[in-house]
């Protein structure tokens, strides 16, 4: 029988994996390298930022459905959000 923290991590990992998978549906990869990098990046983002996003910004309750959903949502949008942030920073700095 798994203990509760392990189950919680497994749920978040499942959510992050689903989000990474769905991100590929909306923005398909251009190469195998792209596929691997983006999948890993989205998964890591979901695992790391899923909980903080749920608690601080989304204000979703403390239930397993919301752990899964927040990890999936963060993984789904992570690549686009970081991409937008990098472009904004680039635009702010101006051309070299």
């Amino acid at each position: 029988m798994m203990d509760w923290p392990t189950v919680a991590v497994a749920i978040k990992a499942l959510g992050a994996s689903l989000g990474a998978f769905l991100a590929l549906v909306f923005q398909p990869p251009k190469s195998t390298r792209d596929l691997l990098i983006r999948s890993l990046f989205a998964f890591a983002s979901g695992m790391i930022f899923g909980d903080p996003a749920r608690e601080q910004y989304l204000k979703w309750p403390e239930r397993w459905e919301y752990w899964l959903a927040s990890a999936a949502l963060v993984a789904l949008v992570s690549w686009a959000v970081y991409g937008a942030a990098i472009r904004l920073i680039g635009a702010y700095k101006g051309p070299k």
Binding site: L18, L24, V25, P28, S31, L35, Y66, L73
Partner: protein, 169 residues
Amino acid sequence: MTGVDTSLLIGLCVALAVSVGNKRAWGWLLAGAASYTASVLYWRSGLPYAPFIAGMCDALICLAIYFWAKTRWEMMVWRLFQASVLVNIVYLGGTLNAWPSPSHNAYSIILELINWAALLWIGGNGAYQPVGASTDALPTAGGPLRRLHRALSALHKPRATPAFTKAGR
């Protein structure tokens, strides 16, 4: 089976009939039908988070199209399934109270419209492929039928594809 299922089944049979001989059209039609059947069976069994299952079925077809589609018209089917995934995600979020829930009727109607659009698009292109192979019957070189033919035949050209998919092989 409800009236909606029956009408979709009739539409599927018609689309299959008009695209006989076009294996790619048949493949995507049957894949869409399998996705619809799986989603509806799950939904009617009363199990939770049905929009999630529906979205994942459509997402699988989306990726299958992305990896195996060869022509431009198939990529429009990909867009339709993308839209279907998005609708399911939005509705799922609504049922989880993550954001204001859209009505179930609106959700169903949008998905039905997408299903019918996919049937018409795949059936139409499946039918066009053999018919459009011959231009003998088309009148006058600059006429509207010729222009329509040119526009439609562009849809049947190879799509731009990443090197690692199977579409280019």
